[in-house]
Symmetry: C2
């Protein structure tokens, strides 16, 4: 996902182009890491001192709904990052030291499906936490 593609989606759904949305998307496009609403506020309040949390949370929620961002819960806080472009479904290793992520080129769900017949799987979470090679 990149900024242009995000705007395509937003425009297509009738959302307006605003400075705030532009800047939020720009922040996400510059990092691979999962970041929080507070992280975003800290960057944005430099330029817009009167920045409202409401604006950030509302837009993050919109972006997740539209598939522009992906969301996960880490240590009690919601974290967000740009939705991966990858054509194949995959998961992430998350470095708890530097925050960088690594794509895990495999998903256990295919194997699983057969293991619990009769159970209707709607969602799953598969995340691996630890230290990446550079944070060893």
């Amino acid at each position: 996902m990149n900024i242009e593609k995000a705007w395509d989606i937003l425009k297509n759904k009738g959302f307006k182009k605003t400075d705030k949305r532009e800047q939020i998307l720009s922040i996400f496009s510059e990092t691979e890491k999962y970041i929080t609403a507070k992280d975003i506020l800290n960057v944005m309040k430099k330029e817009h001192p009167g920045m409202s949390y409401d604006t950030i949370y509302r837009n993050l929620s919109t972006f997740v709904d539209l598939g522009i961002l992906e969301e996960t819960e880490l240590t009690g806080e919601k974290h967000f990052r740009m939705q991966c472009e990858a054509d194949h479904h995959h998961h992430h290793f998350i470095c708890m030291s530097c925050g960088n992520i690594k794509e895990i080129p495999f998903c256990p769900m295919e194997v699983l499906q057969n293991a619990i017949p009769g159970y209707e799987i709607e969602n799953h979470k598969f995340e691996i936490y630890g230290n990446c090679p550079s944070c060893h």
Copy 2:
């Protein structure tokens, strides 16, 4: 895990036997589901109207530390249940309708370890959400 075994652990570590702990453990022993601190308060305040949240959270935290309970984050809230007896490491299918859980007799980590060499895995979360056969 059962109540007797939990008390063995608690006694062994020098924790005292109190009515509140007895009742909290009893609530967990009567369900397979993941429940919240509020769920516990709702049950306990019938007998102990002046029940404090602090007592619940403090004990839940102790129980998790001692391996009596296991904890997970569902829809923004901490949920707890008795630690499984199972001799083998495993994961859970969680029914989002009735809350019942089913043991998944397999863990993808063995396969994964080889897929990302150099990455030090400290923890992982593998949970499957959906509807169980009876909630179809």
